[in-house]
């Protein structure tokens, strides 16, 4: 274990922090021995590729921008059960990416870009991609497709069938 830190440059023992939801549903960080609790949001450092256990607890500004990192946690599974559950709930809200299992077809549509017809782990979907740069490879096993509404889809080229893979190769 490298370290688990909490804001103001102090290092804290992970056993001394826990999370809870206040009456208005805001996720809060409680540090043993302090009186003030921080409203936080768990944020992944490597949301697409890295170890899912690494995450930071950040104080968020009203506009959603990250204001301050209050904790850097190398393995949130070491927190108490309730905190783990709350973090998993929050992460699911922010990072649930649909995975494309099969690419049925891609058609070029004037003034829109490309319309993708796909099968995902959530059933069949159709979405529009503005340009080729919105399909990008993060690693040999991760390709991200970003649609015109900002939604992201994950693709593992290795898991695709040969027809889907050959369609994907046109764009990546």
């Amino acid at each position: 274990m490298f370290f688990d830190s909490v804001g103001e440059g102090k290092f804290l023992d992970i056993d001394k922090i826990s999370l809870y939801r206040d009456v208005s549903g805001v996720l809060k960080l409680k540090i043993e021995g302090t009186t003030e609790d921080y409203p936080v949001k768990p944020v992944r450092y490597f949301p697409l590729t890295g170890d899912e256990h690494y995450l930071g607890l950040f104080i968020i500004e009203p506009d959603g921008k990250i204001k301050k990192e209050t904790a850097f946690i190398t393995d949130f599974k070491r927190l108490d059960e309730n905190s783990i559950k709350l973090i998993e709930e929050e992460l699911a809200k922010s990072y649930s990416l649909m995975e494309i299992k099969k690419i049925i077809s891609v058609k070029q549509i004037a003034r829109i870009g490309f319309r993708w017809y796909v099968k995902t782990d959530n059933g069949e979907r159709t979405f529009d991609v503005a340009n080729q740069q919105d399909i990008y490879m993060i690693s040999p096993t991760i390709v991200i497709a970003k649609d015109t509404e900002g939604n992201k889809y994950k693709i593992d080229p290795i898991k695709l069938d040969s027809n889907s893979r050959s369609i994907l190769e046109i764009y990546v």
């Binding site: 944020v43 450092y45 490597f46 697409l48 990192e69 850097f72 190398t74 990008y136 993060i138 991200i144």
Partner: protein, 593 residues
């Protein structure tokens, strides 16, 4: 021929494959001779038999001949398809080998070479010229051998049929050889010019794309377009002249062969009428005549394309033949772990061997020291760094790190201990974490985060849509100058070299980034890194332990910032001049506005 022989070296790994393709081509060539030969029995035994034969026998013979033709054609089609696929495969393999060899060799060349060559020109050589070579070697060279087989094979068959007629066929050969020589000499010159002009065109286009922001903000689109038009027209003119030569050569050849064909028909017809030659033999002769002339015209076309390939080959081999100017000494040792002490001992350096950029530099830097380097533009500050990184060798004198002379240590081991942050940050397409971990691809996620934190990059990275997984466009598109600079510092921190150099790293960044860089330098110092910082900024000099002022390639002053500033010498005058320049620039800005 030398070019072809050198090219064949690239085929060596595939020699067995080439032999198989050659045998397949030989088989296919021989098969293609059969249908013409079958014209003889078709004419002499089926259509116009010289001896009385029953209709039934003639029909059976006709069927046999037709079946033979179909079988030969089917076999030839299958063999032809297989050959086309394998020739393509071989071609791509050779192309891959050529490109990789050229690119690998480029990486070994010293910085001087890159300063001499244009980016567009090198692109053109590595990508387009190698593609031309791969095509020539797998397609043209093989075709040339097959044409030779055809030429001698058909020649032998024709001699067996009618010797004098065959001699008539050979009549235009000397003329063809003379023509090919005349045109060939002209061709090689035009191809050399053409490829040079194409490289210029690539270079102009590359600059327009790469410098799009400068072109646009200076409203220089028309000027750049004119430059592009000029380069493009040069290529057009050269191609046009090239086409003229081709179109003069090919029809001249065609006309000579046509005249010869007429003579064959006249003389052959005369012999058939006199009963000295059967009609079937005459039909076979005429059929083979074109198959005989085919390889001759084809060999000439190949000769023309050979001239083009020769020019291309010269360009590619000029890259491969360039020797790296800085090479490891055969007895060079691995630089062990170092403390970071540096010594310049009577170092003189010149880029061109004429004008000295650095003159008799004597300088010692202690481990863990932060040394500031200041001086006017062109004073030789960056050259000092180039020598320390051994991108060049000193003309005279020596440089030592921890007592090891740089010429006596392996380059790779030396550069492991040096990190450099430049004014122009170079980021690659890929994720932010990949860019930070460029020098250490095996770095763990935590190490990457820590390096980014230390470089003051962590907070802005966490505000990017995919944090450390955010994809950067080419050259770090999408990030500000300060953000790019922080990533490049994180890259150096993760590499964790003992010697860290900042070469004008703060000249184009905002105040916050500058403060973060200063904080990073303080941290490096505490951790025992030797830091050299080149800057025009006073604030960057104030954090140094010692400062040297360079002018005209010589160290004029050396001391702490305070002592030099107090002494009122060259550094002091330089700072005053800088201040005045700034004031002037501001007032000019006012008038321009």
């Amino acid at each position: 021929m030398k070019t072809i022989i050198r090219l064949l070296v690239f085929c060596r790994p595939y020699k067995l494959y080439i032999v198989l393709i050659f045998l397949g081509s030989l088989f296919s060539t021989l098969l293609s001779l059969i249908p013409t030969y079958l014209m003889k029995p078709l004419t002499d035994r089926v259509l116009a038999p010289s001896q009385p034969t029953s209709v039934q026998d003639r029909i059976v013979m006709l069927h046999l001949l037709i079946i033979s033709l179909i079988v030969v054609q089917v076999i030839n089609t299958v063999v032809g398809s297989l050959l086309a696929y394998h020739k393509g495969r071989l071609s791509e393999k050779i192309g891959l080998n050529l490109r990789q060899t050229a690119c690998a060799h480029l990486q070994t060349l010293s910085l001087k070479y890159y300063q001499r060559e244009t980016v567009g020109g090198l692109y053109s050589r590595i990508l387009h010229d190698t593609a031309n070579l791969q095509f020539f070697i797998t397609s043209e060279v093989l075709d040339f051998f097959m044409d030779m087989v055809m030429f001698f094979g058909i020649g032998a068959v024709l001699f067996s049929l009618e010797g004098r007629l065959t001699l008539l066929l050979l009549l235009p050969m000397p003329l063809i050889v003379i023509l090919a020589n005349i045109f060939g000499d002209k061709m090689i010159i035009t191809y050399r010019k053409l490829y040079q002009k194409m490289a210029n065109l690539s270079s102009v286009l590359f600059n327009i794309i790469k410098g799009a922001i400068i072109v646009k903000t200076n409203t220089a689109e028309e000027r750049e377009l004119a430059r592009f038009e000029k380069a493009s027209t040069d290529v057009f003119n050269e191609r046009l002249y090239n086409s003229k030569l081709h179109f003069l050569f090919s029809p001249s050849m065609g006309f000579i062969l046509f005249l010869c064909g007429i003579m064959i028909r006249w003389y052959g017809g005369w012999k058939v009428i006199r009963g000295e030659l059967s009609l079937g033999d005459m039909m076979v002769f005429i059929g083979y005549m074109w198959q005989f002339y085919g390889p001759i015209t084809e060999m000439n076309s190949i000769y023309m394309r050979y001239q083009s390939t020769k020019a291309v080959g010269e360009r590619v081999f000029s890259v491969l033949d360039t020797e790296p100017e800085i090479k490891d000494d055969p007895n060079a040792i691995e630089l062990p772990n170092i403390n970071g002490s540096i010594k310049f001992d009577a170092v003189t350096f010149s880029y061109d061997g004429k004008k000295n950029i650095l003159q008799d530099i004597n300088l010692e830097i202690k481990p863990g020291e932060v040394l500031g380097v200041m001086g006017p533009s062109g004073a030789g500050k960056t050259s000092l760094i180039h020598l320390l990184c051994r991108l060049y060798d000193p003309t005279c004198g020596s440089i030592y790190i921890d007592g090891h002379e740089l010429r006596k240590v392996k380059m790779a081991s030396l550069l492991k201990h040096i990190g450099i942050v430049l004014q122009d940050t170079i980021l690659f397409s890929g994720t932010i974490s990949e860019n930070i971990a460029y020098a250490r691809p095996d770095a763990s996620s935590i190490e990457i985060i820590l390096a980014a934190r230390a470089a003051g990059a962590h907070d802005f990275i966490m505000n990017l849509p995919d944090a450390y997984d955010t994809i950067l466009g080419e050259g770090g598109a999408g990030l500000s100058g300060g953000e790019k600079q922080r990533i490049s510092i994180a890259r150096v921190l993760l590499k964790n070299p003992k010697i860290i150099i900042f070469d004008e790293a703060t000249s184009a960044v905002d105040l916050t980034t500058e403060e973060m860089i200063q904080a990073a330098i303080e941290k490096m110092k505490k951790e025992g890194h030797t830091v050299i910082t080149i800057s025009h900024k006073l604030s960057m000099m104030q954090i140094t332990d010692r400062l040297i002022f360079i002018e005209n390639g010589q160290i004029i002053e050396c001391g702490t910032y305070e002592s030099l500033n107090r002494a009122g010498g060259a550094l002091n005058r330089f700072l005053i001049e800088k201040k005045e320049e700034k004031t002037k620039e501001r007032s000019l800005d006012f008038y321009v506005l």
